[in-house]
Amino acid sequence: MKVYADNAATTRMSRVAIDAMLPFMDTFYGNPSSLHSVGQEAAEALQKAREIMAQHLGCEAREITFTSGGSEADNQAILSAAVLGEKKGKKHIISTKIEHHAVLHTLDKLSKQGFEITLLDVHENGIVTPQQVASAIREETCLVTIMYANNEIGTIQPIAEIGAICKEKGVLFHTDAVQAAPHLPINVNEQNIDMLSLAAHKFHGPKGVGMLYSRKGILLTKIIEGGSQERGNRPGTENIPGIISMAAAFEDACTHMDENSAKVSALRDKLIEELSKVPHSILNGDLEHRLPGNVNFCFEGIEGEALLLQLDRKGICASSGSACASGSLDPSHVLLAIGRPHEIAHGSLRLSLCESNTEEEIDYLLKVVTEEVEYLRNMSPVWRDLVSGKKQFML
């Protein structure tokens, strides 16, 4: 059996997304900046895609800037707020310890440029409270950037409440919704969001396309110089097939959000319930405020990569920590931030589901994960020491 349970890393493109894309490769292939009809057909399709995105985000089409992905959108949102802040002498930014590296590393860069960065701690469930944000805001704060949902442990943040506080205090609020959209409802006005990032490949759309919503009136800073595409905010010939396809995938997912969410949550809950029975294991993230598809466990006495490779051999695609962090030997910064000791954090497994996963797959996952955890524990000197009482169990 083959089970893809790494949908938080990337997803398979849907038929809807592929079909939307194809005509723009060899039929409507124009450059929207061209005045002739082939170009203007592309320009019209681009505008339509913008309207579709806007409609489902509750914003205006002109508040949308298409980018090359989630990372670029995060970078541009934060840099823009920083530039605006600096002009007013406000050089303090608030975020959390569990953001994606696209956010954290941008903040590192700003910190080298004299910005002061407050990274809020999160509770053991991964949640940051609106009160924490409220107490951290100062006169000089120019931006609060907090992700809607975490890519590793799936925790959903109270962004509407955080947004309300920011609005009240006159501070810009950006949220990285790359994992949240379109699994959770978004309405930028109701949720008091000033800027929001998306990436198409996380919702069965194409890789290499993302989007930044920015409330009108917020002057964006370009991170790429060149032509006047995207109202001058994002130079470079637009990725028309990608953008059209993203809009189609987004619309499709928004339309089916409730049913998909119900289905995926049920699969998730079964996985969580059963895996919780594995002795000396622990669920990471919050049980309730959790992405429909996210399951993340630590298993004491084993190391995550070995588990992944064993699962892969049995046809299961999963992840340990975040895929982007691979190549690094440090355990996930997110697991450390929720208080997992290094020893435990090394033994993590993330299973991220989507609506095409099935009950049978879940049963297979459960069987194989349980077996392989046991197999690896049996060759682990750490496990032997724990079982023999030479060391004390942490979980």
Binding site: E303, A306, L309, R313, H342, E343, H346, M379, P381
Partner: protein, 140 residues
């Protein structure tokens, strides 16, 4: 360019010599759980020959493959041979390791040396302490 060579995957998937030797003549353990790798090597020694070698590993795919390969490379060989085993030789026998995983082969080399030292110590055999890694260092 998969992450690991076929050889690494083979030694990870079908590890040779995994397990414990209850009455081992020498045992070596290196690494620590904080760093994500612990290796334990068990040796059975007869007439200065490594009669049997087994390992237990807490760690990633290349850590398991490295310990498995290392035990295989010394089984049936004289102790002197085991002491000459280098991490490079282990990595080469595995047809290469990714740069950031080379430390796994270092752990395997060290665990074997510590196991031999343990045998020397238990049997009060004299040796040059400089030929063994320093057990106390924490970096791997």
């Amino acid at each position: 360019m998969a992450l690991y060579s076929e050889k690494v995957m083979d030694y990870f998937m079908n590890p040779r010599n995994v397990g414990v030797i209850e009455d081992a003549d020498g045992v070596g353990e290196v690494g620590n759980a904080k760093c994500g790798d612990i290796m334990k090597i068990y040796l059975k020694i007869k007439d200065d020959i490594i009669d049997d070698a087994k390992f237990e590993t807490f760690g990633c795919g290349s850590a398991i493959a490295s310990s498995s390969m290392a035990t295989e490379m010394i089984k049936g060989k004289p102790l002197a041979h085991a002491l000459q085993l280098t991490n490079k030789a282990v990595a080469e026998a595995l047809e290469g390791l990714p740069a950031h995983k080379m430390h796994c082969s270092v752990l395997a080399e060290e665990a074997i040396k510590i196991a031999v030292k343990d045998y020397y110590d238990k049997n009060r055999i004299a040796y040059d302490p400089n030929q063994f890694p320093d057990l106390d260092h924490e970096e791997h």
